[in-house]
Amino acid sequence: MKAIIVDDETKSRQVLHALLELVCPEVVVAGEAADVQAGADLIAAAQPELVFLDISLKDGDSFQLLEKLPEMNFKTIFITAYDEYSVRALQFAAVPCLHKPVDPAELSAALKLLQKQSTATSASRVKEALLLLKLRFEALPVMQNGIQIVLPLSDLIYVEAMNPSTLLFATGNRLLNSDKHIDAYAQLLAPLGFVVGKRYCVNRKFLAAAYEDRLILNGGKTLLLKE
């Protein structure tokens, strides 16, 4: 599998290279780049199947790099020393992301995951993460019947678990389906001021009262927290 590494630190690139040789010898590192422009050029030239991207680059970040590309026909693994913010978006979109110093086990797990995924799926998930970052977490990207919809968080009343998928209830009697697990929403929305539980993520804005066993929404709708 042809891969490239984009990282602004030489040592990091070399470490990853060494690790790949150690853990996944089938991954062939076809090239390395240190900054945004070089990375983009390398991808265009090498047409890799897999790209390791350090989020933070010398002159920008790897999301800028991805935006420069006309299309994404490769799988992506993100690497970062520390970037909570971006990682939240990646996790929501279920894009593999490794932390430095890279754990060989994590690396091989990520590679295994991607092997099961199609390139298109991987790319669409990356795009979703990218969109979420672009929206600065002020709105949620939701796929509805193959169409990407953006739902402002202020319109989202609550998310209900319909395991494994979820239902999103929004203002104006809108009801959206999401194939994501409630946990993904819980992780994303908890820091954004939602009341989060096993069955529901509820926007505080629409919450009238909260009890141990149930939540009452403005307008009287009751959400039972237990079956």
Binding site: E9, K58, D61, A81, S86, K100, P101
Partner: protein, 1041 residues
């Protein structure tokens, strides 16, 4: 009887000739009006206006309304010693000396309302002989006489009363009476004549008079002295001469004199012990004239109350107070000036009856007076009364006489009973009935002739109960005129209506007929009705009432019409205009029986509520309704008269009043006002000492219900005294209290009050000063100044405490916040990105199997971590420690960036080795920032970072300078990033700086400057940090607190 003076009991019928018939009228007070006992032995008006009355049982203080009685209390050491009181005097210190029958003298001091038995007054009278008299002068001497001889003098000027006996060795003299002359000399009269002493040198007799006589009483007038002797009548000592005064009566008159007094009007009053009452004389030169004898008459309640008079005193209003064996009689000259004729049974010189009618003045000035049931009284100009009644005349069918008239020819005509008209012959005491018929056959039989008048041609006009009649005595013709309007005309019988009064208008030759029920009819001399003035309900022009009681011309064109129920109507005959005067204008009654005008233009109206005096000039109405002035409140119709001498006469149901308004004096004496009682919470409060000493009464806050009684000490008509009062401190204005003598205040808030009250006598003369009672109501303790201060102090203390607690909390809070920012700063220093990148580098060395490099890196990394952790334990660290960790950090960064970083750290000479303390973790974030955002994104050139430390007097000055891409470009790059680019390190540092600057006086400051090359392109950033050097000390100071 305690008066054992040598007196001969004689019953003499005095002064029955030559005395004026005018009776002196007295107001009488006895036990049933509150006097403690009927035997009145001495009377005195004190300087505060009260009248004090010594009786055989107790001391009375009279305030015009009530007698306040003081009695001795057995077993008590204070108070009066004896109740049988014989003498009273007020000394210069306003103490009242009270002499008693048991020989004691007690002093009453109004300042403490206490009766004082002065120890010095105990020894003078070992035999306990009754005190006969006490007199005090204005300069401070008090003299008293003992009944069985002996005179004592004491000077109250001295702090101590020191009585000395007077004339101790004079066996030829035994005093009975005494007085201080206006010049201050003390005159003693008694057996052996008169002795005159100077109280300042009492051992020497200044003069002696009448040494062979027995002097019973003395009276002073100016510089002269009257002495009543037992045998030589009245003697007058004037300018060193003794003269006998001629008296109209017998010399025996003065044998039983017990007291004499010359009053302020110059009358000599002689009080006669042993049943001879009072005699009053006018002093004309050396003669006594106008004798008036006042004796008790059981049928006359206004006569002297008893003929045994014991004492006599004049008050400041001129009222003469007479103490007798059975009560007190008070003569009030201001009431006496209203002449009053009454019926007194058994007194031939009084009216035959009180119910009077039909007053008429004869040519000689006598006044004829009819009556309901007493025939005719003729009041002669001297005042004597002659009766003409059925008993002593002939021809009078009954004693009812309604009208009397003397015609121009000198014939007397009388409307008697219900029997028509009579001719009256006073000389022969004969009445002859006018037996005459009209052409129609009508007679005056069974008619009451209410009014008789005469026209210019000798014809009599009669107002009767059956209308108007004309009688011509010369030819004995009688005419009846049917003057009634409408349906009442042409009746076969005589009309049944009353004509109350007929008056002839000589100028218009008209008769004015006042009818009862039909208004005023104007009739010509032929009996034709010219005009009818009556009530007109439709138009406002008209009389108030058709019941006319009297018609009185006022000037040529005005008629005063007294009505029954409509007040007074004033008719202008020229324009027919009618004005009215009713209770709405201030009259006390709407019945006006008669109207008279006086020379001042006032209208005097008789009514059922006394006399009403209306002043057309001022529109004011005054009233004459005092029981001691008017015969009664109810007057009679047709019974009013103005005589030629200007006297107004009004008759009523109980006599006749007559007076000349121009002669009436008013009571010009402003009354004294006194507070008589104070009740606090409805309980009597002893206030005298406060009142008399002018001290405020201090009450507790819950003693705030006051009732104050007061009085005006005018005794003429004390029931009509009026008051106004004001509680300074509460009332804004004076409150008119009318006749009420009490003021109540409830729920007075704490404060200082002055109660002031003024009084006014019955003639409207107000007291000039106020009676004043100051009351202080203390605030409750929670409103006292000390309590409020205490509370204030407590409050301030609490406030301070609260402030302290709050600041402590704030400081704690601040400390927490500071600690939090410090923690954040630490986290900023332990930049995860840096840490994991560093570890990543170590991983690289490990993977590359470069153990030495890995070890060195690890050592440096752990050294930095250690330094950071160490520094973070302190808010302030020494500058060199900070620099050391900065260096380590830079080394690591240099390694991470593969040596692609130059840096330099320079230190000012002065700072080397100096123990300068700076806030920890202040510089590093700027360094990191410079590397991350300034140097790392550099495309060309060698990144360089310099740290320079300098020292000024007060500050450490740290400059972090890089040659990176500059803030502008860095910002542009960051904006392109999708990942979060906010440098947490920088925001935490800013926060920390804010916290420190909030805390310390000396401020940290950071300046960031963009560096430009000569072409104007960005070539780096310079950050200058100013750190005050004494920040650390300030910090230490804070902590020590």
């Amino acid at each position: 009887m305690i008066y054992c003076r040598p007196a001969i009991l004689i019953l003499c019928l005095l002064l029955s000739t030559g005395s004026s018939s005018a009776q002196l009228r007295f107001d009488n007070y006895s036990v049933d009006r509150g006097l403690s006992a009927s035997t009145v032995l001495d009377i005195m008006q004190s300087s505060d206006g009260f009248v004090w009355i010594a009786t055989a049982e107790g001391l009375n203080r009279y305030d015009g309304h009530n007698f306040t009685v003081f009695r001795s209390r057995p077993q008590a050491n204070t108070g009066l010693q004896d109740n049988y009181l014989t003498a009273l005097a007020e000394d210069r210190l306003h103490r009242i000396w009270i002499g008693a029958n048991d020989g004691s003298i007690t002093l009453y001091d109004p300042r403490n309302a206490g009766f004082l038995r002065d120890p010095a007054l105990k020894g003078f009278n070992p035999a306990q002989v009754p005190i006969l008299s006490i007199k005090a002068d204005t300069s401070g001497y008090v003299c008293w006489l003992l009944q069985q001889g002996g005179a004592w003098l004491a000077a109250t000027k001295l702090p101590q009363i020191n009585p000395i006996p007077l004339l101790p060795n004079d066996s030829t003299f035994m005093p009975y009476c005494m007085g201080f002359a206006p010049d201050g000399m003390l005159w003693l009269g008694g057996q052996g004549g008169i002795r005159v002493l100077n109280p300042a040198s009492p051992e020497r007799v200044q003069a002696s008079w009448l040494q062979g006589s027995t002097v019973l009483a003395l009276a002073f007038q100016g510089g002269s002295v009257f002495a009543a002797t037992a045998a030589e009548g009245l003697q007058w000592i004037d300018r060193g001469m003794v003269r006998s005064i001629n008296t109209p009566g017998s010399e025996q008159l003065f044998r039983n004199i017990i007291a004499m007094k010359v009053d302020s009007k110059g009358y000599l009053w002689c009080a006669n012990n042993y049943f001879n009452g009072i005699q009053r004389f006018s002093i004309k030169g050396s003669e006594l004239t106008q004798p008036v004898s006042c004796m008790h008459n059981a049928f006359n309640r206004e006569s002297l109350v008893n003929n045994s008079v014991l004492c006599l005193e004049e008050d400041r209003e001129g009222n003469v107070w007479i103490g007798t064996l059975s009560g007190l009689s008070v003569f009030k000259p201001l009431n006496q000036q209203y002449g009053l004729l009454r019926h007194i049974p058994g007194d031939p010189n009084s009216l035959s009856t009180g119910n009077t009618y039909g007053l008429f003045e004869d040519v000689d000035g006598s006044v004829w007076c009819g009556s309901l049931d007493g025939g005719i009284n003729k009041v002669l100009p001297q005042g004597n009364i002659v009766h003409y009644g059925s008993g002593n005349t002939r021809g009078l069918p009954s004693n009812s006489v309604r009208s009397i008239y003397r015609d121009a020819a000198g014939r007397y005509w009388v409307g008697a009973g219900n029997d028509g008209l009579f001719r009256f012959f006073p000389e022969s005491r004969r009445f002859v009935k006018a037996e005459v018929k009209t052409r129609e056959g009508y007679t005056l039989q069974d008619l009451q002739v209410k009014s008789i008048t005469e026209d210019g041609q000798g014809r009599l006009w009669l107002g009767t109960t059956a209308g108007l009649w004309k009688y011509q005595p010369d030819n004995n013709n009688l005419f009846h005129y049917d003057i009634m309007p409408g349906s009442l005309r042409n009746q076969p019988n005589l009309p049944d209506y009353q004509l109350m009064e007929v008056r002839y208008d000589a100028r218009r030759k008209q008769l004015l007929c006042a009818t009862f029920g039909h208004g005023l009819l104007v009739v010509d001399t032929e009996g034709r009705v010219l005009e009818r003035i009556s009530q007109n309900p439709e138009s406002k022009k008209g009389l108030n009432s058709n019941n006319i009681m009297c018609v009185v011309p006022l000037g040529p064109d005005t008629l005063l019409l007294g009505t029954y129920g409509g007040g007074l109507n004033v008719l202008n005959r020229k324009d027919g205009n009618i004005q009215s005067l009713t209770t709405a204008n201030g009259l006390s009654n709407d019945v006006v029986y008669g109207v008279l005008t006086d020379r001042r233009g006032n209208w005097w109206m008789s009514s059922n509520r006394g006399l009403m005096i209306y002043s057309p000039q001022t529109g004011m109405v005054q009233f004459l309704n005092q029981s001691s002035r008017v015969q009664s409140l109810e007057f009679n119709e047709g019974t009013y008269l103005k005589t030629g001498n200007g006297n107004l006469w009004f008759g009523g149901i109980n006599g006749i009043n007559y007076f000349r308004p121009e002669d009436l004096r008013i009571n010009a004496m402003a009354p004294q006002t006194a507070i008589t009682a104070l009740r606090v919470m409805e309980k009597p409060f002893a206030f005298d000492s406060f009142y008399h000493l002018g001290k405020p009464i201090v009450l507790r806050h819950n003693q705030n219900f006051l009732r104050i009684d007061f009085t005006g000490l005018s005794f003429v008509n004390s029931a009509q005294n009026r008051f106004m009062y004001k509680l300074e401190g509460l009332d804004e204005i004076w409150i008119e209290a009318g006749n009420n003598r009490s003021a109540a205040y409830t729920n007075l808030p704490p404060g200082n009050y002055s109660f002031m009250v003024k009084s006014c006598n019955d003639d409207g003369i107000w007291s000039s000063g106020n009676a004043l009672l100051e009351v202080h109501i203390l605030p409750p303790y929670w409103r006292t100044w000390w309590f409020i201060c205490l509370m204030l102090v407590l409050f301030v203390t609490l406030l301070l405490l609260a402030f302290r607690i709050r600041t402590a909390a704030l400081r704690r809070n601040y400390q927490l916040t500071l600690a939090e920012t410090e923690l954040k700063a630490l986290r900023g220093q332990m930049n995860p990105h840096f840490i994991f990148n560093s570890i990543n580098s170590i991983q690289y060395y490990v993977l590359n199997k470069s153990a030495g490099e890995a070890y060195a890196y690890l050592a440096k990394f752990s050294s930095l971590m250690r330094q950071i952790l160490q520094n973070s334990r302190f808010s302030f660290i020494p500058l060199d420690q900070e620099l050391q960790s900065l260096e380590t950090y830079l080394e690591l960064e240099k390694l991470r960036l593969d040596g692609n970083l130059d840096y330099s750290i320079t230190l000012d000479q002065g700072l080397r080795g100096a123990q300068v303390m700076i806030p920890s973790m202040i510089i590093q974030p700027y360094v990191e920032n410079a590397i991350l955002h300034g140097l790392t994104p550099m495309k060309d050139g060698k990144p360089h970072l310099s740290i320079a430390m300098e020292q000024t007097d007060t500050h450490v000055y740290c400059v972090v300078e890089d040659n990176g891409i500059g803030r502008e470009q860095s910002k542009a790059l960051n904006n392109l990033r999708r990942s979060r680019h906010e440098s947490t390190g920088m925001s935490v540092t800013r926060q920390r700086l804010d916290m420190l600057n909030r805390r310390f006086k000396d401020k940290l400051s950071v300046e960031i400057m963009d560096l430009k090359d000569p072409q104007g392109n960005a070539c780096g950033t310079r950050v200058a940090i100013y750190i005050p050097m004494n920040l650390h000390h300030e910090h230490e100071g804070h902590h020590r607190r």
